[in-house]
Amino acid sequence: MRAGAEPILSVEDLHTHFFTQDGVTRAVDGVSFTVAAGETLGIVGESGCGKSVTALSIMRLLPPGLGRSVGGSVRFGGRDLLTLDEAEMRRIRGDRIAMVFQEPMTSLNPVLTVGEQIAEAVMIHQGKSRHDAWARAEEMLTLVRIPDAARRVGDYPHQFSGGMRQRVMIAMALSCHPQLLIADEPTTALDVTIQAQILKLMLELKGRIGAAILMITHDLGVVAETCQRVIVMYAGRKVEEASVLDLFDRPLHPYTRGLMASIPRRRPGAPRTRRLQEIPGMVPSLREPLSGCPFAPRCPLATARCTAEAPPLEQHGAGHVVACWEAGRIGVS
C-alpha cells in the first residue's frame, strides 16, 4: 500500500466454501488484503487457487446455493459487504464496484444492444432518463475507442469481435465511475496483440476515472505491466504479497519462484536451449483439511516441519510478507 493511502477495500480473513454432494471445498481459506484508492493490486495464481472466487465473494456473485462466504469480512465504504442485504448490495454492484469478466464472447447479453446494456447501469444507479443514459453509453463507447460509436451503440454483441466486446464490457463497468474495478482475467480469452491494447486502455481509463483495480490473473506478465502490488495465492491461501518490483526481484515463496521459472524467457548469457521449468505435482484437493504448508508436497525445499505445521505470513522487508518456513533461507541464497 502506498504510504498514507487509506484502503478503500479491506478483505479480512475471508473464508469461502463450496458445498457439494462430495463435501465442502474450501476455495478461499483465510485470505486478507487491502486495496488503496487508485492503486492496482494483482492477485496471481494457477487455476483453482481461489483468486476468482475471492473476486466473486467480494461482489457476492457466488453461484447461489453452492458457494458461500462463511467467515471474515469485506469492508468497503465503511460497511461489511458480507452483511448487507441484497438490495443494498445491488446499489453497490455496478456503481461503486464494477467487474469485467474473462469471457467477452459470453459475458454480454446476445439479445440486447450494447447501448441498452451500458445504458442500463447508468439508469439504475444514476437515475438518468433513457435518452441521457443512451447518450452516456455512446460517450463510453467513444472513450473505449470503438470506432463510429454513434452508430455502433445500437449494434448487438455478435456484431463485435472479442476485443471489441471486452471494450464494451469495460465501458459498461466504468459507466458509473466506480471506485473499484475488479478485472477477472480480462485478457485471457483475447489474442496476444489485443491483450496489450486492452490492458493499456484499462490503465488509462483507471487514471482518468480514479478507480482502483483488482487484477485477477494467472499471467505474471500482466501483473508486471499493470500492478503496483501483487498477491500470490495457492490452494485458497495467500502465500506471498509484495510490491511488483520487489516480487520480481526477490521472490521468497518457492511457489512464486516456480511460477517465475515457468515463464518462457531468455536471460542474458543463459544457454539458448534451457528447458522451460515446471512445478512438479498437482494442486492439493481443497476438500481434505490441509495440515502444514499446502505447497509442501510439490516444494523442493520442504522439510518435516513444512508438512506438519502451516507457516504463518511473516514480514520479510517493507511491505513484503510470505508464508514459508524456509523464506529466510531463500532470501539469502
Binding site: M59, L61, G65, R90, R91, I92, R93, G94, D95, A98, M99, F101, E103, T106, S107, L108, N109, P110, V111, L112, E120, A121, I124, H125, Y156, H158, Q159, M169, M172
Partner: protein, 313 residues
C-alpha cells in the same frame, strides 16, 4: 423478408398435399359406408347402390381422390353428403365458437404458462418449483374430458358460478360470451399450459446459468428485470417453438372440449360428421385444421427473426 415469406408459403403446398393424401386414404380405407347411413334401416341394396352412385362412391378410389383434390385447388371443399350444404359454409357457420375458444385459451394459457415457468425457474429446487411442476405433470396427464366434467361439477353444478354448457355469441355481449368460455378454456388449456410452463422453466434455467446473467447481476440489475428483460428474451425462441407446436394439442382438445361443453363449433361438426361418415366434412375440417397448424408454425418461424437478433443477420 417478403421473399422468405413467399418461399415459406409455397413450401406449405407439398405439406398440405401429403395431408390430403393421408386424410383421404384413412377415411376411405376405414370401414363404414355413408350411403348405408344416409339410407337408414331396412333399405334395399339397390337403394344403397343408387345413393352410392349419387355421391360418387361407386367410382374407383383414385378417381374420387382426383375429383376432391381438383375442387380443393379451386378452393372448394365439396358438399356435405348428409346436409347437402357446402362444407365451406358449414365450417363458416361453426367458426365463431371455435375461434373464440381457441383465442381465449391461447391468450390466457401462454401468459399463465410463461409466468409459471419463470416462477419455477426463479425458485428452482424450492417448494414453489415442485408445486408448479407437479401441476404441470398433472395438467399434461389428465385428459381434457376428465378436467372438463370435473370443472362443470365443481364450478357450474355445485358452486353455480358459471353456466354448465353451451355458447353465447359475442354479438350478445362480451360478458355472457366470456362466462361461457371460462370453463372450456381452462379444460382445453390445461395440457397446453403444462407443456409451455415446462419448456419455459427448462430454458430459463439454462439461460440463468449463462455468463451474461452474472454480468447483469454484477451491474446491479434487480431480480425482476433480470428474469424478464435479460433471461426471458433469451429463452423466447424455444418457448415460441413449443407455443406453435402445442397448437396441435389444442386442435385435438377442441374437438373433445366442444363435445363436453356442448359448444356448436367446428370440433362438434367434425365429431357429428365422423359418426355419419360424412367424408367431405371430415376431410374439409382436417384440411382447415392442418392449414391453421402449418400457418401458425410458419408465423412462429418468422417470429424468430424478431426474437433473436443473431438470426436476423
Amino acid at each position: 423478408m417478403i421473399g422468405t415469406i413467399v418461399r415459406r408459403l409455397l413450401s406449405m403446398l407439398p405439406v398440405m398435399g401429403v395431408v390430403a393424401v393421408c386424410v383421404f386414404l384413412l377415411l376411405h380405407l376405414a370401414p363404414g359406408d355413408p350411403a348405408a347411413i344416409i339410407a337408414g334401416e331396412n333399405v334395399s341394396p339397390e337403394n344403397i347402390a343408387r345413393i352410392r352412385a349419387q355421391l360418387g362412391l361407386d367410382q374407383p378410389v383414385w378417381r374420387q381422390f382426383l375429383v376432391w383434390v381438383g375442387s380443393l385447388l379451386t378452393g372448394d371443399l365439396g358438399q356435405s353428403m348428409f346436409w347437402g350444404d357446402s362444407v365451406t359454409s358449414l365450417i363458416g357457420q361453426r367458426a365463431e365458437p371455435t375461434i373464440s375458444l381457441a383465442f381465449t385459451t391461447v391468450m390466457v394459457a401462454v401468459f399463465l404458462a410463461i409466468g409459471l415457468g419463470v416462477l419455477a425457474a426463479a425458485c428452482a429446487g424450492t417448494l414453489v418449483d415442485r408445486l408448479v411442476m407437479g401441476f404441470a405433470v398433472m395438467g399434461f396427464s389428465v385428459p381434457v374430458f376428465v378436467v372438463g366434467y370435473l370443472l362443470i361439477f365443481v364450478f357450474a353444478i355445485n358452486l353455480k358460478w358459471l353456466p354448465v354448457q353451451g355458447y353465447t355469441p359475442i354479438s350478445e355481449g362480451v360478458a355472457p360470451w366470456l362466462r361461457n368460455l371460462v370453463l372450456p378454456s381452462i379444460a382445453l388449456g390445461m395440457a397446453y399450459v403444462a407443456l409451455i410452463a415446462r419448456i419455459t422453466r427448462t430454458t430459463m434455467l439454462d439461460v440463468l446459468a449463462e455468463d451474461y446473467m452474472r454480468t447483469a447481476k454484477a451491474k446491479g440489475v434487480a431480480m425482476r428485470p433480470m428474469l424478464f428483460r435479460h433471461a426471458l428474451k433469451n429463452a423466447a425462441v424455444p418457448i415460441a417453438t413449443v407455443v406453435g407446436n402445442g397448437v396441435a394439442l389444442l386442435i385435438g382438445g377442441v374437438v373433445i372440449t366442444e363435445t363436453v361443453f356442448n359448444i356448436p363449433g367446428v370440433g362438434r361438426l367434425v365429431v357429428d360428421a365422423i359418426a355419419r361418415r360424412d367424408y367431405p366434412i371430415i376431410q374439409g375440417v382436417i384440411m382447415v385444421f392442418s392449414g391453421v397448424y402449418v400457418l401458425v408454425n410458419l408465423l412462429v418461424d418468422l417470429s424468430y427473426t424478431f426474437l433473436d437478433p443473431r438470426i436476423r443477420d
